[in-house]
């Protein structure tokens, strides 16, 4: 207790390594300047708007349609990615086949390819005269400029989140538990649904949540393929841009605030579900 450190640094433990003041001070200062203060402006501006104005622009008919579209398509794409992402993660973690390394690298393409490039490429594929669109058009299926197009763009953007969340867990899951299950008489199907699936459940949910969160805010890959019809295929981020271009700063801010609060709430909810399931599993 008589150490000279005990009083001065009560909130941190003493260390022989130098540089805490410099590195912590610099990184906290830079974080405050670049992230915290700019983000705070959005909430301050919303707060300064007054409740009735906020509701009027933040929950206008057009804005509500945009939220429903953004959250709905992001959830649909997240589900598609949960299913196929699990399949891809399973194949990569469990089997060996020629070209596996290339396939593994390709999975990260959506992280590396700029969203605008993905957007125009997908539109070229799915437009009525495009590579894939020309075969769908005679069947009466329109992908480009409809909700399906938005979902396809969000599937592209979100896939690596699911694969990269699930794959390490599958790889770590020892063969011994599966062997134990089989020895005790479980069929392969029972082993999967009762042993493997519960173990990878939390990781799958994390992957879904990351893909969903990214999908709700996604802009570049969607706007080319979506057609951008107000009330029909106008996603919330695009509505923010439209409002900004018309100098409707209050509208843009209110919509951005609603989106951020909704996203945070959903992510918090998913975190709570995960904490609960971990508690139940006794891990």
């Amino acid at each position: 207790m008589n150490s000279p450190f005990s009083k001065r640094n009560r909130w941190r433990q003493p260390s022989v390594l130098p540089g805490f003041g410099l590195t912590f001070g610099f990184s906290l200062g830079w974080l405050t300047l670049i992230v915290l203060i700019p983000l705070a402006t959005i909430f301050l501006k919303s707060a300064g708007m007054g409740w009735s104005d906020f509701i009027k622009v933040g929950f206008s008919e057009r804005a509500v349609a945009a939220y429903r579209l953004s959250f709905g398509t992001a959830a649909a794409a997240g589900l598609v990615n949960a299913i196929f992402g699990l399949l891809v993660a399973w194949v990569l973690a469990r089997y060996s086949f020629p070209g596996k390394k290339v396939v593994n690298a390709l999975v990260d393409l959506p992280f590396a390819l700029p969203t605008a490039v993905a957007g125009i490429a997908l539109t070229a594929l799915y437009a009525p005269n495009g590579w894939i669109g020309q075969y769908l058009d005679p069947l009466g299926i329109n992908v480009a400029f409809t909700r399906i197009g938005i979902i396809i763009a969000l599937v592209f953007i979100g896939l690596p989140f699911v694969v990269r969340s699930v794959e390490p867990v599958l790889a770590d899951l020892g063969k011994d538990v599966e062997e134990a299950a089989a020895t005790l008489g479980a069929t392969r199907h029972q082993t999967f649904t009762r042993v493997i699936f519960p173990a990878i459940g939390p990781a799958l949910l994390t992957g879904f949540a990351l893909a969903f969160a990214r999908g709700v805010g996604e802009y570049g890959s969607v706007i080319f393929i979506s057609g951008n019809m107000p009330g029909k295929t106008e996603i919330a981020p695009l509505l923010i841009v439209t409002q900004l271009e018309q100098y409707a700063y209050d509208g843009a801010t209110a919509i951005a605030t609603v989106m951020m609060i909704a996203s945070f709430a959903i992510l918090l909810g998913i975190n709570l579900i995960q904490a609960w399931s971990r508690g139940r599993a006794g891990a």
């Binding site: 390594l17 590195t23 089997y95 999975v107 951020m260």
Partner: protein
Amino acid sequence: MSQRAIVSESRFARGLLIGSALAFLGFFLLLPLVAVFSEALKQGVGTFWDAVKEPDALASIRLTLLIAAISVPLNIVFGLAASWAITKYSFRGKSLFITLIDLPFSVSPVVSGLIFVLLFGAHGWLGPWLNAHDVKIIFAVPGIILATVFITFPFVARELIPLMMEQGKDDEEAAVSLGANGWQTFWHVTLPNIRWGLLYGVLLCNARAMGEFGAVSVVSGHIRGLTNTMPLHVEILYNEYDFVGAFAVASLLAVLALVTLVAKSVLEWRFDYHHGGAGH
């Protein structure tokens, strides 16, 4: 019945699973990539080069390189400082600090641009003051840099924190007890330990910095030859129905993505550097 069928799938099921995974990836990931190059070269290599050599396209390439050359080093310095503070000391509020660093990942790119318009735009809080002093941030290069630094903020720190946490601080403590000062310890002990992880973070950070669209689009003002980055130039050409031009510039960005993926894979195979969890 074979014994191993119990803990694995039959040959047929395995083939079916691999086949459908590859079909899905081919359809959703590979085909768009092929489409970019095919559309860019549709009217021959000559037209492709003319589109790339066009003055506005060259200006957008220069601007994109400039933006990355400024924002990536800023994020390296921040990432190193933050991960040193977080992993070498124990202090209260550390997990909150880490959460705050990750914050830009959960914000829509468009909103990331909007916040800087609200701060520095003509009608923003500092707008009148900036205008009186003739400083332009929004619809100019500084705004694009700010938005890019915000978007890529967590990349380097996020790679380094788990890596340095795992490595602990024994090496550094040994160096200091042998008489090294802080900088010597960092240069000769820490940096060699974390170089591959750092490079990995820089790769991903750079790819995003050069490819960012939403945030940059909001703050840039789309002034041809002045504030158009490559992704914004792609959008303008596309909206003007200059598809070959749009895909030509887009194919350069696709090459950047491929180089990033190859370099990333090389880091993973050669140096067994393992990427923890999902990146962005």
